[in-house]
Amino acid sequence: MSLRSSIRTLPLAVRVPAMVVILMVAVSGLISERVLDRLSTTQEIYLQRLASAYLDGVVASITPSVLREDSWEVFDGIERLKPSADDILPLETVVTGKNAIVLASSDPEARETLRPLDSSFAGQFNGTGVTIDPETRSGYVRRDITYQDQLIGAVYAVFDVSSLLRERQQILVTLLATNGLFTAFLGFVGFVAVRGMIRPMQVLETHMVEAAAGSPTPIADSEFPSTDNEAASVYRAYNALVRSGAEKQALARQLAEEEKLASLGRLASGMAHEINNPLGGLMNAVDTLRLHGDRRTVRESSIELIQRGLQGIREVVEAALAIYRPDRLARPLAEQDFADIRLLVRPELRRKRQRLDYRLEGRLETDPRWPAGPIRQAMLNLLLNAAAATPEDGRVGLCVTVTPQGLDISVSDEGAGMPQSARSILTDPKNREVPPDSGGLGLWIVREIADDLEASISLSSEPGSRSVIRLSIPRNTSEISNAA
């Protein structure tokens, strides 16, 4: 990740104060540089004046002695004129006569009397101005001694400029400390201000993330700003959106429930028929028992018949109950569930004189524990939808395949192809809306179940030809779910 993109990922509450701090550092750096530059100039002017005053005094005092080359008088003059009250004191003063011979020095042991002046020492003096050397913490200044327009000698003075450099250092430290504190303060203020400003956005972001995760909650009154500002307005709008979403979801649930009841209603007539069929046989068996119950063989065969009939009725009733109350089916999917589904759709198929081609490939194992309720609901909805699409005397297919990746449930019809609206409900990732009318509600429920199981839905359907809807449920799907 590049630096720029790293910076962009930083929260605004950090970025804005950081920008303020960077700006302040730049401004304070510029100001400090100007102040120090100005101070440096002022100090050099001050030192120049001080040095000039000192050198003027020395030159005026010792010129006659230089003329006479009287080393003692020159030395005595240097000693007498050495200031003691100033901060900036001459460290060393050397007076040379003609030919740069040292007449006297404030430190005769370092600059021997009546010897040529050390050229490296003389080299530290440039022109007539003060040269400051921060390394030796000294200022160097030189003045020629002239008499009747004749050059008769020179004075070299070295000043201790520690106090000036110390002053510079102190001012630099003061500037840095002041600017640092000021910058830190502004950075803090910026942080607090920006955080206050973006706080509503953060609250909104938190709630929206929750909403995206599927559990939208309205923003509580306690989180509302004390004043009725833009944030409050946005919060209200968001809460209205959440309420609207919740209402829509409630409506969808209600519709799903109604659809479930409706499909159950449709099944009910078929189920009644399923129940009625064995009932005729049961009644006959009862009559037979009443008339010939004393005969053992008749009795046993009749009871056997009654038991099979009642068993069939119980299966039908249990299958219906399982659809109506999926929560009672909080158990893993088993092969019995496919038998139940076939039983449930049989009346509808029979009504339309259709046939179901059922095929199970592979074996359902106890692991993974795919939830039976939602899968039954999805299969039922798909089969009823296929039956509705398939013309009379047609064929409806249910193919269940257990693969290493998971479970594939394919439902095929012989209809005229799936309309675009229905395809959209099943597969369009942008279309999460509840269908505007009851049309397609069954498919919408299938989609909800598929999402809940992290399953994928694929379609092979061309307009005007048979359609195959395949529900691929991965092995690592969530545990028992009550999606439906």
Binding site: S71, P108, T113
Partner: protein, 299 residues
């Protein structure tokens, strides 16, 4: 000895300024001298040379106060930078008396008369020191060849004549033997010049060197005597022959000779580290006279 360190410090800081003031006072005195001639018995004009340790105001004030009290005369102290100036004033009668060096006294022996000679450690004698830097390895005069040498004054016995004679005795010319010679016009200045390294050797009054070692040990201990001369007559207080035995010179003589007897006089002697003054025989300056005679025609 009370108050001596203060005297010392003040002496270092104010010696030049004090000298200027005193020079001004001397000028006023010269103006007042014309009036004094109308009433000559009222004032004693007393000259001082750089044989003095310093031109310290406290010492001058104490000396002036003591002499005024003891003599009953008004005392005017007159200082000059060189021996020559003071000697000239004395010989010409512009001073009643002056504390001069033995060398000018010998030189003007026929015009001057002794008033009193100070006693140092009980004797009217002192030595001339040849000094070098305390760290220097030199052991004899020969080691000083090629030096920059500091003399005190061309009219000083200890600060010039002794070393000059020493070289003469060995057939040496100071301007050849030494790389350079300089006159500092003060024994303290000779010590300063050698201590600082401005000069590598110097000729100085032994009394001044010894006393200053107590007063300014930091300065003086940077030097050491390489050679000490024989004992010679201490710089005397002298007057012109014309004024000798006048009332005020007699009064001055009494005041000086009795200095050790009074508390005020003791204070002055304490400052000067002297034991008193005595009426010494002029023969104590024979040693100096011999040197002067030796150099006659050379200087």
């Amino acid at each position: 000895m009370k108050g001596l360190p203060t005297l010392d410090v003040a002496g270092r800081k104010w010696s030049r300024r004090a000298a200027l003031r005193l020079a001004g006072a001397g000028a006023l005195c010269a103006g007042g001298g014309r009036l004094a001639r109308a009433q000559p018995q009222e004032v004693i004009r007393f000259g001082l040379t750089p044989v003095f340790l310093t031109n310290d105001l406290e010492l001058l004030n104490a000396l002036q106060a003591y002499l005024a009290t003891e003599t009953g005369y008004e005392i005017e102290l007159i200082t000059r930078r060189t021996y020559q100036e003071v000697t000239a004033l004395l010989v010409s009668g512009q001073l009643d008396a002056a504390w001069i060096c033995g060398y000018p006294f010998v030189h003007y022996r026929d015009q001057l008369e002794l008033v009193a000679v100070p006693d140092w450690n009980g004797k009217p004698l002192y030595q001339s020191y040849l000094i070098v830097s305390s760290e220097r390895q030199a052991t004899s005069l020969d080691d000083l060849a090629g030096d920059i040498h500091a003399f005190s004054d061309p009219d000083s016995n200890s600060g010039y004549l002794v070393t000059r004679t020493l070289l003469f005795e060995r057939g040496l010319d100071p301007d050849v033997f030494f790389r350079k010679t300089m006159f500092t016009y003060g024994h303290r200045n000779v010590i300063r010049a050698v201590a600082s390294g401005l000069a590598q050797s110097g000729s100085v009054d032994g009394y001044v060197w010894e006393v200053m070692r107590e007063i300014e040990p930091d300065l003086v201990n940077r030097t050491r005597p390489l050679r000490k001369s024989e004992w010679l007559g201490f710089p005397p207080v002298a007057t012109s022959k014309a004024l000798a035995h006048s009332r005020r010179i007699d009064a001055l003589t009494r005041a000086l000779l009795s200095m050790a007897q009074s508390q005020e006089g003791q204070r002055v002697l304490g400052m000067l580290r002297l034991t008193g003054f005595e009426n010494a025989d002029p023969s104590i300056f024979d040693g100096i006279a011999t040197k002067v005679a030796m150099l006659r025609g050379v200087l």
